[in-house]
């Protein structure tokens, strides 16, 4: 089957690719661009591990044809951190112990990023709703919700958990 051209912007970089029409965005990211941070957990749009941002909105890369995002801008988890600094969400996930096995983490962070882009001070219920399509099997979500609340740029949330780092006393 012949390949067709695809122009997309991924993590700020303009790309000209040749893809097969039946490839999903997830397959192009992972296999053509080696951006393996975006995971496949179910392949049917349920688990949320493949969540990426399309023009700032969260989408399931596993249920999006690559050709459907022609000319658009995609952000993956690899596109969040700066050269020397992590995104505040990434920092917060580390600090709050919101990561265990880490497989759902990139999708979870991208869903959270989409929320904070729109709503710089979400309530706990809004956070839980925003990540309701992202399944985590390890954490019970408590520390993930804390981490997202703590990373919200414009508020002092009461959901925050204790914030000790190494060397500080446990509560």
């Amino acid at each position: 089957m012949s390949r067709v051209p695809l122009s997309i912007k991924v993590n700020g970089e303009e790309l000209e690719l040749m893809v097969e029409p039946h490839w999903t965005l997830l397959e192009v990211l992972r296999e053509e661009l080696d951006l393996t941070g975006t995971k496949e957990g179910c392949g049917e749009g349920v688990c949320g591990a493949c969540t990426v941002l399309l023009e700032g909105e969260p989408i399931r890369a596993c249920l999006t044809l690559a050709l459907e995002v022609q000319g658009m801008s995609v952000t993956t988890v690899e596109g969040l951190a700066g050269e020397k600094t992590l995104d505040p969400l990434q920092e917060s996930f580390i600090r709050h112990g919101a990561v265990q096995c880490g497989f759902c983490t990139p999708g979870m962070i991208m869903a959270a990023k989409a929320l904070l882009l729109k709503n710089p001070c979400p309530q706990e219920e809004e956070i839980r709703r925003a990540i309701s399509g992202n399944i985590c099997r390890c954490t019970g979500y408590a520390k993930i919700v804390e981490a997202i609340a703590a990373a919200a740029p414009q508020c002092n949330s009461s959901i925050r958990g204790p914030l000790q780092g190494p060397g500080e006393e446990p509560t």
Binding site: H22, L65, Q70, A114, A130, G133
Partner: protein, 340 residues
């Protein structure tokens, strides 16, 4: 999971898309949000040779007033529907239904109202991988002659689990189907065939372009209720939408639609009629209507979407009653405001 191969077509305008539908007919499928279609293709339930993408057809997106109708483009994202002040104000049942679909990041961009309305019927004996279905005869929906959900059934008993369809049924929506020659204008009762194998009266050369709702006026109210295991992700296992018209505190007309029981949302006329002339606050009448809805819907359901059929049937009465209570309160409140 891999998609099967196909040719991707990207018409720039509706006319071009309709020409493609004319040319490729049953070998083509229309790709809107893809959240339903692509899963079916991955499971090899469908294998269209041509996928006609609607992504460039801006004329299919948007919500606007047209005379006495609200017109919703079939390609309008679910999020845009649920957030539309017009929809929220006049058709809360639709806003509630659409908000309940899937999860946040599915609703956001990809899911469309047309896709939700045309969502194929489901059955746990059918909506499985190609491997899962292998090793035994194909069922009615897969082109065979057997039903695994109801032994001995001579037809497909798959279930319509669309939230939007149930709400739109209660709201008396009509749809526009276009082909290259012209268009058809159908009520939802006409759109749904009540056949599990081919649940929609949508010809291979047609595209659903619009959903149209008669504008509401004060004294009318609608609500939607559903039950699912989880607060997000899941398809409902039972659902109900009601629409009430009241005059001076009395129900003058009611439409009650029940979802997840049959091949289509079921409009239970008798349940609606039982409320005519009853005061909005007549809770016994509301309960009775709910029971009628349950009794009539029960004939359609089979155990094929997850929860037990007894439970789902029982939930019809609970959901209809709850929907009616909220709608009655809403109607009374709206009327009160108008008088004030």
């Amino acid at each position: 999971m891999r998609l099967p191969r196909f040719q991707y077509l990207e018409p720039r305008e509706l006319e071009e898309a309709l020409e493609m539908r004319d040319l490729y007919g049953a070998r083509s499928a229309v790709l809107a949000g893809g959240t339903d279609l692509l899963v079916r293709m991955k499971q090899r339930l469908m294998g269209p040779a041509f996928l006609i993408s609607l992504r460039n057809l801006k004329e299919l997106v948007g919500i606007r007033m047209e005379g006495k109708e609200l017109v919703i483009g079939a390609g309008t994202p679910l999020q845009e529907v649920s957030r539309s002040p017009l929809v929220q104000h006049h058709f809360p049942a639709l806003a509630e239904a659409v908000q309940a679909v899937g999860a946040y990041s599915i609703q956001q961009v990809r899911g469309t109202i047309g896709g939700n309305l045309c969502q194929d019927t489901r059955c746990l004996f059918y909506n499985q991988s190609a491997f899962w279905r292998s090793g035994r005869q194909a069922c009615h929906k897969a082109g065979g002659k057997i039903c695994y959900a109801r032994e001995g059934s001579d037809r497909c008993r798959s279930t319509n689990q669309s939230d939007g369809a149930t709400a739109l049924m209660a709201l008396q929506a009509r749809v526009t189907l276009r082909n290259s020659q012209g268009h058809r204008d159908l009520s939802l009762e006409e759109l749904f065939t009540m056949k599990g194998e081919t649940p929609l009266d949508l010809a291979p050369n047609e595209i659903l372009t619009q959903i149209r709702l008669p504008m509401e006026r004060p004294g009318r109210a609608s609500t939607y209720e559903r039950i699912a295991y989880r607060s997000a992700i899941d398809f409902p296992v039972a659902s109900a939408a009601v629409w009430l018209e009241s005059e001076r505190g009395t129900v003058s007309k009611a439409r009650i639609a029940v979802g997840c029981m049959g091949n289509a949302p079921l409009l239970i006329l008798q349940a609606g009629e039982s409320l005519e002339g009853r005061p909005l606050e007549d809770t016994q009448a509301l309960a009775k209507a709910a029971r009628i809805a349950m009794d009539q819907a029960s004939a359609f359901a089979v155990e094929n979407v997850g929860a037990t059929v007894e439970y789902r049937v029982e939930m019809v009465s609970v959901l209809v009653e709850r929907a009616l209570h909220r709608a009655a309160a809403r109607a009374a409140e709206a009327k009160g405001k108008e008088h004030a």
